[in-house]
Amino acid sequence: MNWQETLRTSWFAINAHRMRSILTVVGILIGIAAVILTVGLGLGTQKDVSSQISSLGSNLLIVSPGSTTSSTGVRGGFGTGSTLTLADANALAEKSNAPDIKAVDAEKSSSEELTAGSTNWTTTVDGVTPSYKSVRSRTVESGSFITQAQVNANAAVVVLGSETADELFGSTNVVGQSVTIDSQSFEVIGVLAPSGSSSTTDLDDLALVPLSTMQQDLVGGTSANSVSTVYLQATSADALPAAYQEAKSLLLNRHAITDSSDADFSISSQNALVSTATSVYKTLTVLLTGIAALSLLVGGIGVMNIMLVSVSERTREIGLRKALGAPPGAIRNQFLVEAAILGLTGGIVGAGLGVLAALTLPAAIGSTIVISGAAVGLSLVVAIGIGLVFGVYPATRAARLAPIDALRTE
């Protein structure tokens, strides 16, 4: 019996029980579509997170206050302390102190309500230095950025994120307008260009004022001299470890701390953030894919179940075929091909649905889904494989039936 005949016979058998065959195929296709979607979602999220983190700027080290252990043993959490000052930032910016640090931007953040005319908008207000622009890789779309002169003069000027401008004025063409923050009037001198990171709105919803203005006029009080974060830009990616060491020893020295485990600040690198986030999402992807693979396994068991039913239902047919001269191999192939057709059909339809969902879902749920060619190709191979693997047992059983017993079955 050649392959053409085997295919034809198997196809007849599948067609004869259409409903049953369709349900079996559905079992496989759900598994395949789920694998393609979860792998795609995982890869997409990884891509989003990486691009979000790198949109902070390049070759960055981020110094945050905190992690202090007081004499009473109370340990302040990350980012909570007020131990970093502008003087620290200025010291770090000194070439002689830290040759591998190219630029330093100290920031002080606070959530404030902005008012323009009758419109209110609450957002993050960052007190920054002129180096913000280069350290954080931002560009000004219209107007100009905060200058050193404005920082020195505690000028009441503000640079708005594009989204903030849009919320307050309904337009980004707002240079020269005025905005009220904490009952003080600020002049809008510039609007930032959108960060280009589609999924992060934070980077476009902010207001920047000179650091000195922030410290003196908006925050005041005891924490006036502290800053919330110091961003350090290393001279190159290779210089990051050296910059890290320089910053650490300089700050330890300035804060008169001898044991580095008592440091009242912490330094993290952007690369560390990226790799942490990537590994988190990798784990998540593996987990989800595992669950999807389980559903594929269940689909495969469905194929086996149907094939076993098919074998016992067609015992007489098998007996007859054997009496007419079908060798065991021909019977086995007939059932194997039948199972493989079910698997492959499930694979093709499942891959089609998975890709379709990957193309249409992102618009609805707002996350990126990457269609991985490897995942699609592998799914098809796995689908046929599942048909074959789970078809082997029923097919072997069919091939081993003794013709007389099979013929006698009523």
Partner: protein, 236 residues
């Protein structure tokens, strides 16, 4: 057997054929030493009540079951020496089965049913169709080639089964109670067909429990308790 006119070497030869079935610890001796030789062109009926061992004879002759003792030679081949693959080839080429329950595949048309043995023989598609249609014409169903079994009467279905048995030009046609499920008209119909095939030189072995049917054969072998108890030649 001495009464038979001398003719060529037998195509079917059972020598001391014995078969024991084991079910757990219980042994059942279905055949207890049967010698049977059938020559080419003979029309032989094996008759016996149920439990006599005639079905076992049929299974052994059809290469569907193997002997526990003795030997079976079919057209010169020692069947006991063959494996499952070779037996499939023997069944395909040498034996044409006709069963009591017809055993037609309900989803296939008459000619598709008839061509089945040729599929396993590796005959090309076009030739298969020609030979299947020719075999159906021979059993008088030339106008029913595209009908499915459900659209045919019992007698017609059995004639399709006979066509299927004929299509490979086998050494022997082996019929197991071929009229057991048929009314008297269809029975006469099918037996007349066997007469014609015999007249055309076919070797036919008919297994039955009905003496009336057995009397249509030229030679009747009576089986009881796993042994041949009598043999008779009928008036031709």
């Amino acid at each position: 057997m001495g009464a038979l006119t001398p003719s060529p070497a037998p195509v079917i030869e059972l020598l001391g054929a014995g078969k024991t079935y084991k079910t757990g610890t219980i042994e059942f001796e279905a055949l207890r030493g049967i010698d049977l030789a059938i020559r080419e062109g003979e029309y032989v009926a094996v008759v016996g009540p149920s439990g006599s061992g005639k079905s076992t004879v049929m299974n052994v002759l059809g290469c569907l079951d193997t002997l526990t003792r003795g030997s079976y030679r079919l057209a010169g081949d020692d069947v006991e020496q063959l494996d499952e693959e070779d037996l499939a080839v023997i069944r395909n080429k040498r034996i044409g089965f006709v069963f009591q329950q017809f055993h037609l595949l309900p989803s296939l048309s008459a000619w598709r049913n008839v061509e089945l043995p040729l599929v396993y023989a590796g005959v090309p598609r076009e030739e298969r169709r020609q030979r299947a249609v020719a075999a159906l014409e021979r059993v008088g169903l030339g106008d029913r080639v595209n009908n499915k079994p459900g659209q045919l009467s019992g007698g017609q279905q059995q004639r399709v089964a006979v066509a299927r048995a004929l299509v490979t030009e086998p050494t022997m046609i082996l019929a197991d109670e071929p009229t057991g499920n048929l009314d008297s008209v269809s029975t006469a119909d099918v037996l007349a067909l066997f007469d014609q095939l015999h007249a055309a030189g076919r070797t036919i072995v008919l297994i039955t429990h009905e003496n009336e049917v057995a009397q249509r054969a030229r030679r009747v072998v009576h089986v009881r308790d796993g042994l041949i108890t009598a043999e008779e030649l009928t008036a031709a």
